[in-house]
C-alpha cells in the first residue's frame, strides 16, 4: 500500500498496516526532519523492521537530491539475514510502483567467516583463523612473492577481484549474504572485499554493531560513511553494554604467557630480517619518523585493525623516539608484560584509576604515557613490516597493546581492577587484570557526532529516559508504543507468595531469603503446579548459575524434580555451548511431539559474554546452526515464562561497583536506580521472548515479591505493564494457577484476526486515508 505521511509518500509492501507501525513511522519521520537522534520502543512482533525500512527508504526516495544512506546495525547474522529479506520484499514493491528509478543497492557486511567463498579458507574453525587464512593468501607481500614464484598460493577470488579493479561493482539491488556469496562465486570475485568496497556506494548497509561501535573496526569499515547517513541500532536494549565491552580489556595469566611467546617469536623474526634484509626495518623507521598518518595508503588487505578510539591529533603526531626501532619497542613490550605479571601476583583485590596506573608504570617500568598510547599502532606497523600473516597466533600481544593504548589514552571513565581469584571460587587462584570501561558514551560518541540521525530501537527500552543519560545524548524523540491487540494475548502476573493453602510464605531471591528452604520449596511447588496445567513448553529463568545449581539440587533431593518430570521433560542450560544447543534442540522436539518440556535458562547477561553471540555468529560452525540462531520461545515453544527472582547483577563485583560509582559521580544516576533498571531490563528481555507475533499468546510470571513494588514494576516496558492488571499484582501460587487455566482456555478459542470495529488492529489503505493525522495519535495510546 501507498500512503502519505506529511510530505513523504511511503511505500509499504503489505496490504494492511498496524496502527502502531503507522505512528512509529510518524515519529521516525519527525526525527529525520529534525536531523536528530531518537529512541523508540515498540514490542517485537509488531513489524518494527519493515516500518523502519519502509519509512527511511521512502524518505530517501522523496528527497533524491540528498545523498542519504541507511546504516542498519543488527546484533546477529540471523537478524541481518531477516532484515535483508524484508528489505528485498520492500524493494520489489517499490520498483513495481516507481520503476527503475527506485533501484537501490543494499548489502550486508559480515566477517570473512560468513562471506568467504574460498573453500580452503572457510573450512577453518573460527573467525580469527579464517581471517588469518585469508591474509596468508591475500597479503600484499604474499602476492608480490607469488608474482615471482608460482608455487606460492594466492586466493583466485581475490586476484580476480583485484584484476577487475574499479569494474568490480555490483548492479544495484538487494543482496542477502547468501546472494552475495553466490554472485561472488559466479563472477569469481571475493565477496568479502567486494562487500567492503561496495559499502561506500550502497544506499543501505546492514551490518553488526561492532562495525560502528568497536573503534578498532569502525575506523576501517565505516570511515567513509557520509554525514547524511541514518544509523539504526535494532534490538538495542543492551547497547550500553556493547559500548562498554568494546572498550574493555581483561588480561589473564594465559594472556601474558602467550604475549611472551609472541614477543620471542617477533624477536626471532627481527633477527632474521636483520640478517637478510635490514633495509626493510630501516624503511619502517623512516616512515615512523614521518608520522603515522602517512601510513594511510596501505593496500586494502593489509590494514586489519586500527587504533582504538584515538583522538585524531595523535595520528598526526610522530611515534615517540623510544619505540621507533623495532628492538626498542620489543624491550618496552617486554617490560610492560613483566610489570603486568608482577601486578597479577598480588594477593589482594586492587583498584586503580588509569592515571595512577600509568604513574606507577612509568616509575617501575619506565614507560611513559605517550609511549603507551602508541603501542597498538606500533605493533601493527611492526607486524606488517615483519610480514606476519598468521595474525590469529598473535592475539595475546595484541590484547596487551590494546590495553596499553587504552590506558594511555583515557584518564577518565575507566578503572583497572586486579582480582587474585574469582569471588565465587576463592580457592582457585585465577588472577585477572581488567581494564573496564564505565562510560558507555565514549564508544558511541563518535557515532552520534558523526551521523545526522541515529535511531535506537528495541522491544524493551524501558525506562526510556535512562538511555539518553547513559549514552549521553539528546534525543529529539523518545517514545514508547504499545501493541494493539485483538485479544489480551499476553498475561503477565506477579507472584509474591506460596500457595494460600499452605504457608503463604513470600517468595523472593533476595539475598537473605534465597536459601530459605521454604522459599525454595515454594518455587518448586509453583513450577510443579504450572507444569500440570500449561501445555507444551515452559521456560524458567533463574537469576544466576550458582542459584540455579543450588535450587535444582534442592529440588532433586526433595523429589520435586521427579514430580515435574512426570509431566514434562526438564532441560537445563549449562556453560557448555554445544551441550546447551543440543538441549535446546531436544527441547523443541519435545514441544513439537506433545511430550512437553521445561527449560531452565539464565538471562542473557549471566552467560559468559559473547557465549551465545558466538553461537549465532558462527552458526555455520555448529552443526545445529539452525537451533542456535536467535533463541525465541514463541508459540508452543513457550506458553509460559517464569522469571524466578529479580535478575540483579552480582553486586559485589568490583567492576560493577566501580561502574556504579562512576555513574553516580558523572551522570548523577543513583546506584539503586541503575541496578533496578538493569535488572528489570533483563527480566523484560527474558519474558519478552514468549511472544513474537500478534497471533501468538503466552503468560509471564514474575515470581518475586519485589516485583509488586511500584518502583520495580514501573520500569517494565509499557506493553507488558498495560496488560498487568491490578488484580494480578500480588498473587499466591493457587491464584496464579487459576488464572493460568482460565487464560489458556480462553486463548484456545478461535478468534477474529482483524479485530472488531472499535478495536481495529489492521488498517487497510482506505482506512488509513480516512484517519486524519489528528485522530491517529489517540489511537496509538
Amino acid at each position: 500500500m501507498k500512503f502519505h505521511i506529511e510530505d513523504v509518500t511511503v511505500y509499504f509492501p503489505y496490504d494492511h498496516i498496524y496502527p502502531e507501525q503507522y505512528s512509529y513511522m510518524i515519529e521516525l519521520k519527525r526525527t529525520l526532519d529534525a536531523k536528530g537522534h531518537c529512541l523508540l520502543e515498540m514490542p517485537t512482533g509488531t513489524g518494527k523492521t519493515i516500518a523502519l525500512l519502509s519509512l527511511i527508504t521512502s524518505y530517501c526516495l522523496s528527497k533524491p537530491q540528498s545523498p542519504m544512506k541507511l546504516i542498519y546495525c543488527t546484533r546477529t547474522v540471523h537478524e541481518m539475514e531477516k532484515t535483508l529479506a524484508e528489505l528485498k520484499i520492500l524493494h520489489n514493491y517499490q520498483i513495481k510502483h516507481l520503476g527503475p528509478q527506485a533501484r537501490i543497492l543494499a548489502i550486508g557486511l559480515s566477517s570473512r567467516k560468513n562471506l568467504c567463498v574460498n573453500p580452503t579458507v572457510v573450512a577453518a574453525k573460527n573467525r580469527d583463523s579464517v581471517d588469518a587464512g585469508c591474509r596468508k593468501l591475500t597479503a600484499s607481500w604474499v602476492r608480490a612473492l607469488a608474482a615471482e614464484n608460482p608455487d606460492v598460493s594466492t586466493c583466485e577470488f581475490f586476484e580476480n577481484y583485484e584484476k577487475a579493479a574499479s569494474a568490480a561493482v555490483l548492479p544495484p539491488r538487494v543482496y542477502t549474504l547468501q546472494e552475495l556469496r553466490a554472485s561472488g562465486k559466479e563472477k569469481g570475485w571475493c565477496p568479502y572485499f567486494l562487500a567492503r568496497h561496495m559499502v561506500q556506494l550502497a544506499n543501505v548497509v546492514v551490518y553488526s554493531y561492532q562495525y560502528l561501535l568497536d573503534p578498532k573496526v569502525a575506523r576501517i569499515i565505516s570511515k567513509e560513511m557520509q554525514k547524511e547517513s541514518v544509523v539504526v541500532f535494532d534490538e538495542a536494549h543492551n547497547i550500553d553494554n556493547v559500548c562498554i565491552e568494546a572498550l574493555s580489556v581483561s588480561v589473564r595469566r594465559q594472556t601474558l604467557e602467550g604475549a611472551t611467546r609472541n614477543l620471542s617469536r617477533i624477536s626471532q623474526e627481527i633477527d632474521r630480517f636483520k640478517a637478510t634484509d635490514a633495509s626493510i626495518l630501516r624503511a619502517e623507521y623512516n616512515r615512523l619518523v614521518e608520522g603515522l598518518a602517512l601510513r594511510g595508503n596501505l593496500p586494502i588487505t593489509d590494514n586489519w585493525l586500527s587504533n582504538p578510539a584515538l583522538p585524531d591529533d595523535i595520528l598526526k603526531e610522530a611515534v615517540p623516539g623510544n619505540i621507533r626501532r623495532a628492538e626498542h619497542f620489543l624491550h618496552v613490550l617486554r617490560r610492560l608484560v613483566q610489570y603486568l605479571s608482577g601486578r597479577l601476583d598480588t594477593e589482594n583485590v586492587e583498584k586503580e584509576s588509569p592515571v595512577g596506573f600509568v604513574a606507577s608504570l612509568s616509575s617501575h617500568a619506565g614507560i611513559d604515557q605517550k609511549t603507551l598510547k602508541f603501542c597498538y599502532d606500533r605493533l601493527h606497523s611492526l607486524m606488517l613490516t615483519l610480514e606476519i600473516t598468521d595474525t590469529d597466533e598473535f592475539l595475546h600481544i595484541q590484547t596487551i597493546c590494546d590495553f596499553a593504548t587504552l590506558v594511555g589514552t583515557y584518564g577518565r571513565g575507566f578503572s583497572i581492577i586486579i582480582e587474585p581469584f574469582d569471588d565465587r571460587m576463592p580457592h582457585i587462584p585465577d588472577p585477572v587484570l581488567q581494564l573496564s570501561c564505565h562510560d558507555a558514551s565514549l564508544a558511541i560518541k563518535p557515532v552520534f557526532d558523526r551521523f545526522q540521525s541515529v535511531v535506537i530501537t528495541s522491544g524493551t527500552l524501558s525506562p526510556i529516559d535512562l538511555y539518553p543519560r547513559l549514552l549521553n545524548f539528546h534525543p529529539v524523540v523518545s517514545r514508547s508504543f504499545t501493541m494493539s491487540l485483538t485479544r489480551d494475548c499476553i498475561c503477565p502476573m506477579v507472584l509474591t507468595r506460596g500457595s494460600s493453602c499452605s504457608d503463604q510464605l513470600p517468595v523472593s531471591t533476595k539475598f537473605d531469603m534465597r536459601s530459605d528452604p521454604g522459599v525454595v520449596r515454594n518455587y518448586g511447588k509453583l513450577l510443579l503446579e504450572m507444569v500440570s496445567v500449561v501445555p507444551d513448553g515452559i521456560v524458567c529463568f533463574f537469576v544466576s548459575y550458582s542459584y540455579m545449581d543450588g535450587i535444582i539440587d534442592t529440588w532433586n533431593d526433595s523429589g520435586i524434580l521427579k514430580e515435574i518430570m512426570q509431566h514434562k521433560l526438564v532441560f537445563i542450560e549449562t556453560q557448555d555451548v554445544v551441550e546447551t544447543t543440543l538441549a535446546l534442540d531436544n527441547y523443541r522436539r519435545a514441544c513439537d511431539c506433545g511430550r512437553g518440556a521445561v527449560f531452565f535458562l539464565l538471562p542473557e547477561r549471566e552467560r559468559n559474554f559473547s557465549h551465545f553471540n558466538e553461537i549465532t555468529w558462527n552458526s555455520h560452525v555448529c552443526c545445529r546452526g539452525k537451533v542456535a540462531e536467535g533463541i525465541d520461545f514463541d508459540r508452543h515453544y513457550g506458553r509460559l515464562v517464569i522469571m524466578i527472582g529479580v535478575p540483579f547483577q552480582y553486586t559485589l563485583s568490583k567492576i560493577l561497583l566501580a561502574r556504579l560509582e562512576y555513574l553516580r559521580d558523572t551522570f548523577q544516576i543513583k546506584e539503586g536506580d541503575f541496578l533496578t533498571f538493569d535488572a528489570l531490563r533483563q527480566a523484560a528481555q527474558c519474558v519478552g521472548r514468549v511472544i513474537r507475533s500478534k497471533a501468538d499468546y503466552g503468560m509471564m510470571i514474575f515470581a518475586d515479591k519485589r516485583y509488586s513494588r511500584h518502583d520495580k514494576r514501573s520500569k517494565l516496558p509499557s506493553w507488558i505493564l498495560s496488560h498487568l492488571q491490578d488484580a494480578n499484582l500480588n498473587l499466591s501460587t493457587d491464584m496464579a494457577l487459576h488464572i493460568a487455566r482460565e487464560f489458556l482456555k480462553k486463548m484456545a478459542q478461535p478468534y477474529d484476526k482483524t479485530g472488531s470495529s472499535d478495536k481495529k488492529t489492521l488498517l487497510s489503505q482506505e482506512e488509513l486515508e480516512k484517519l486524519g493525522d489528528g485522530s491517529m495519535h489517540e489511537m496509538s495510546y
Binding site: 501445555p535 484456545a748 478461535p750
Partner: protein, 413 residues
C-alpha cells in the same frame, strides 16, 4: 439459556490433585465461596457499575460463527452420511481432575452418552466404536457397531483413570481398525483429550502421516488447553480442534461433531449398500429379543432377512449382521443435504425504516423485535423470503426445524 451462571460455577473452583486437603484447610464459609466464585460472573461496565456478564449475546455470537463456518463451504455440498467414527476417550490421570464438576471423566461420560444418541439420531446409517487410553496404552472398549445402548453401557462400566496418555498408541490402534472398513464409509476419529502431554513409544509425526494417508479425519476436543500436537494432527487430517471452556461449552463442542462432515472427494462415488427395513412387531406379541437374550412383550422390530427380534433401531442385526434402519431414519439424514441458508443479520437502521413497518415482529414466534425501550433489538432476515426472525427462532430453525417457516408459507400461498 442462562447457562453463564452454571458455567462459572463449574469452571470455578480450581484446585489440583491435592484438592482434598485444600478444602480441609478452609473454613466452611470460605468453602462455599471458593466453590462458587460468584464474583466472576460479574463484570464492570464503563461507568464502574457491576452487572452480570452478558452471556446471551456471547452465546448467540458463538452460534452465528459456528453457523457461518459450517456454511462457508458451498450450500449444496455432498456430505458423508455413512460414517465410521471412533470415539477416543482419554482415561489418563488428568481425566480425574476436578476442574469440571464432579470430575472431568464424569462430565465426559455424560456428554458422550448424549453425543452417541444424537449421533445415531442424525446419522442413522453410521457406526461408532469406543477406544480408551489408560496407563499409556490404548484399548478398544467396543467394536464398531450401530447400537447406541451397547456402547453407552460398556463405557459406563469402565471409568477409572490412571497413568499417562498416549496419542500415538490410540491413533495406531484406530488406524488399524478403520483401515478395514469399506471404502464408501467415512473414517473419523473424535478424541476427547484431558491430558496436556502425550507419552509416545515412537515418532508421532509418522503416525499422523499414516492417518492422513488412510484418509482418517481426526478431531480433538481438549479439556484443558491448546496443545500443539493436537492442532497439528487436526490440521494435517482435516479435522477440527477445539478446547472446552466449561461443561456447557464442552457439550456444544461435542455435539458439533454430530452432523455429517463434507464428503471427501475421492470417496464420493455412488455405491449400493445392503440395508433392512424391519417391521414393528404387533402389540402384545411375546418373543425373545436377540440383543438382550430375554423374552419381551411387544414393541420390537423383526429383521426382514432372518426374522430375529431387535429392541430398537437403528442397529445391526445380531444374527445376520444386516444394517437395520427405519425409513424415518433415512429421511432424517436428508436435511443435511439441503440445509437452510444462514440468515443475515439486520442492521438496526433497517428496523427503524418506516417502509418495513410490517416487519416489526418475529415471523416465527410473533414476538416484537423491539426492545422494551422501543429500540430495535437484534434480528435476522432470511435471504430468500426476506422475513424477519428473532435470535431464538433463528437458532431453533437452524438446529431443530430445518425448514424456514417463511419460505414454506410462501410456497403454499
Amino acid at each position: 439459556m442462562n447457562n453463564g451462571a452454571g458455567r462459572r460455577i463449574n469452571g470455578g473452583a480450581e484446585e489440583d490433585d491435592d484438592e482434598d486437603d485444600v478444602n480441609g484447610d478452609l473454613d466452611a464459609w470460605e468453602r462455599t465461596y471458593t466453590d462458587e466464585r460468584s464474583w466472576e460472573s460479574l463484570q464492570e461496565d464503563e461507568s464502574g457499575m457491576l452487572r452480570p456478564i452478558d452471556n446471551q449475546a456471547l452465546y448467540h455470537s458463538q452460534y452465528r460463527r459456528r453457523l457461518r463456518s459450517l456454511s462457508s463451504t458451498a450450500a449444496r455440498i455432498q456430505k458423508g452420511l455413512i460414517r465410521y467414527l471412533y470415539i477416543v476417550i482419554d482415561l489418563s490421570r488428568a481425566a480425574s481432575e476436578m476442574d469440571f464438576r464432579p470430575s472431568r471423566i464424569a462430565v465426559i461420560a455424560k456428554h458422550v452418552e448424549t453425543f452417541i444418541r444424537e449421533f445415531f439420531y442424525q446419522n442413522p446409517l453410521s457406526q461408532v466404536g469406543i477406544v480408551t487410553i489408560k496407563d499409556g496404552v490404548a484399548h478398544c472398549l467396543t467394536d464398531i457397531g450401530g447400537s447406541p445402548e451397547s456402547h453407552i453401557n460398556a463405557l459406563m462400566k469402565k471409568l477409572e483413570c490412571s497413568g499417562d496418555s498416549s496419542l500415538q498408541n490410540a491413533l495406531d490402534l484406530v488406524d488399524g481398525y478403520l483401515n478395514q472398513i469399506p471404502s464408501y464409509g467415512h473414517r473419523e476419529v473424535l478424541i476427547l483429550y484431558s491430558a496436556l502431554s502425550t507419552c509416545d513409544p515412537g515418532d508421532i509425526m509418522d503416525t499422523i502421516q499414516k492417518c492422513r494417508k488412510s484418509k482418517i479425519r481426526c478431531s480433538v476436543i481438549g479439556l484443558a488447553a491448546e496443545m500443539f500436537i493436537c492442532k497439528h494432527l487436526c490440521q494435517e487430517t482435516g479435522g477440527t480442534y477445539s478446547v472446552a471452556l466449561d461443561e456447557s461449552h464442552f457439550k456444544e463442542l461435542i455435539l458439533e461433531h454430530a452432523p455429517p462432515p463434507p464428503a471427501i472427494a475421492e470417496f464420493a462415488v455412488a455405491n449400493l449398500i445392503n440395508m433392512g427395513f424391519p417391521q414393528r412387531a404387533a402389540e402384545g406379541s411375546i418373543s425373545i429379543c436377540s440383543c438382550h437374550k430375554e423374552a419381551k412383550v411387544g414393541a420390537g422390530y423383526t429383521c426382514p432377512r432372518c426374522k430375529a427380534r431387535a429392541c430398537e433401531l437403528p442397529t445391526e442385526c445380531c444374527v445376520c449382521g444386516l444394517t437395520l434402519v427405519s425409513s424415518p431414519h433415512l429421511a432424517r439424514s436428508y436435511h443435511h443435504l439441503f440445509p437452510i441458508a444462514p440468515f443475515d443479520e439486520v442492521t438496526s437502521s433497517h428496523l427503524n425504516n418506516p417502509n418495513c413497518k410490517l416487519q416489526r415482529n418475529c415471523f416465527g414466534c410473533q414476538q416484537s423485535l423491539l426492545d422494551p425501550g422501543n429500540k430495535p433489538g437484534p434480528a435476522v432476515v432470511c435471504p430468500k423470503c426476506k422475513r424477519y426472525f428473532c435470535l431464538d427462532c433463528d437458532i431453533y430453525i437452524h438446529e431443530s426445524l430445518h425448514n424456514c417457516p417463511g419460505c414454506d408459507s410462501l410456497r403454499h400461498s
